[in-house]
Symmetry: C2
């Protein structure tokens, strides 16, 4: 019975894709069968695990809009226990096509429900928006991880996102939980970084992960080789941070 976790934040460039790929890879290396779902038309999670988005013929788009069988679309990555439902640029058009359809908020859930029992975890990478596809991902999810970059603008948008999560919880998915707020790109040399961590821990105490993801260039180099951080450099702080995050989530869910 796979646990579905969405990675969401409408602020751009905060580490959603980096978290999705590398938390997925960490769970996989700890022997948990994991499925990534790329719900961002930019298809960064798809290319980050080694697939060229231009060569993707069928993707999450066909599953949502054409009712294609997700089991036929799933791709295996080079990491054992890590599969992906890829994205394609066509996904940009999906939001317009879903407007007016009766169950438009539940279309992603319908897709994920067909495959989640084959996995221990399903991780959905969302685009930097609170549009219909992100709402669909939150409706399909059991919980959501909110990456927050240790920068001023990233702090600003947090309240708005938590509001949206409350709306989804009350109207579309009463079971949606907050798995946690994840502080990313932390740089201990910067005063601003420390201030943001202080601020987030003060306001959101219980739901902030103990694990901090520090700024680490190996994390930004790995996707250019189409590799997760575990494959690319298992000794890097980026790899250690994401393995710690995986363990923290497993403990919290009484799986470790």
């Amino acid at each position: 019975m796979g646990k579905v976790i969405a990675i969401a934040n409408q602020k751009g460039g905060v580490g959603k894709t980096t978290t999705a790929i590398n938390l997925g890879a960490s769970l996989a290396v700890l022997e948990y069968r994991t499925l990534l779902v790329d719900a961002d038309p930019q298809a960064n999670a798809t290319s980050g695990v080694g697939f060229d988005p231009k060569n993707i013929k069928t993707s999450i788009y066909e599953c949502i809009i054409d009712n294609a069988d997700p089991k036929q679309i799933i791709l295996q990555t080079t990491t054992p226990n890590l599969d992906i439902i890829p994205a394609h640029i066509d996904l940009v058009g999906a939001e317009i096509e879903m407007i007016g359809l009766p169950n438009r908020e539940y279309m992603m859930k319908k897709v994920i429900d067909q495959v989640k029992d084959d996995y221990d975890f399903v991780i959905i990478d969302c685009s930097p928006s609170l549009g219909l596809i992100t709402v669909n991902s939150l409706t399909a999810a059991d919980s959501v991880i909110v990456p927050v970059q240790c920068e001023y603008f990233a702090l600003e948008g947090l309240g708005k996102l938590l509001n949206t999560i409350k709306i989804v919880q009350s109207r579309l998915n009463t079971a949606l939980d907050i798995e946690g707020i994840l502080l990313t790109m932390y740089d201990s040399r910067l005063r601003l970084s420390k201030q943001v961590v202080e601020e987030v821990k003060t306001h959101f105490q219980q739901i902030v992960f103990d694990t901090l993801i520090t700024r680490n260039t190996r994390l930004s180099e790995a996707p250019s080789y189409g590799e997760t951080i575990i494959m690319f450099d298992a000794n890097s702080t980026g790899a250690v941070n994401h393995l710690n995050l995986a363990r923290e989530i497993l403990q919290k869910n009484n799986l470790a």
Copy 2:
């Protein structure tokens, strides 16, 4: 007769808002009357110049949806020659409201055309998406600046964005020009940074700005004080880079 420049890239966190605010501030300090237009519901440009988005009663939303007079909504910033049409979170709903309206792609243009003659430059900060509001901004613009972070994922999305610009040029705004591709968050110590610069300069030669915006923590600290980089730390490399960018644009437009 103000020149309208949109700052756009659907990739998140590449420096769109940082460019809009600090290019605007640089043009203002060089005595060019400049208007910022915040076309992102996150309202980062609005808070970055010192206004609390929660206190904004009327914004670009009312101008587009309710035909409010933009001249009544314009706010003066603490920087002489720099005004702003602020954003508000309501803007999230605008895209849905604009679907089906006859001239839905030209609504931003209608607003900007009412004020642009009062300024030398109008700079539009776009959200990380290629939705209707960004298309509106590209339709209202004379040219577009594309910030590209010196990272792998930022490179990936460039082709798609340039495609979208071509579509807008052919169907909605034949006069739309590319003002340039701006490389941001450059860190000369990182191999990846250098590789991205190489790659972009090889593929896009003529349209890449000579000015590089280097990674500089003062740029990310300034918005937490509600100040532009020029006010916050005029001697920082962040300030020098944006002043150079302003001069490069002025020269290109035979204004320097």
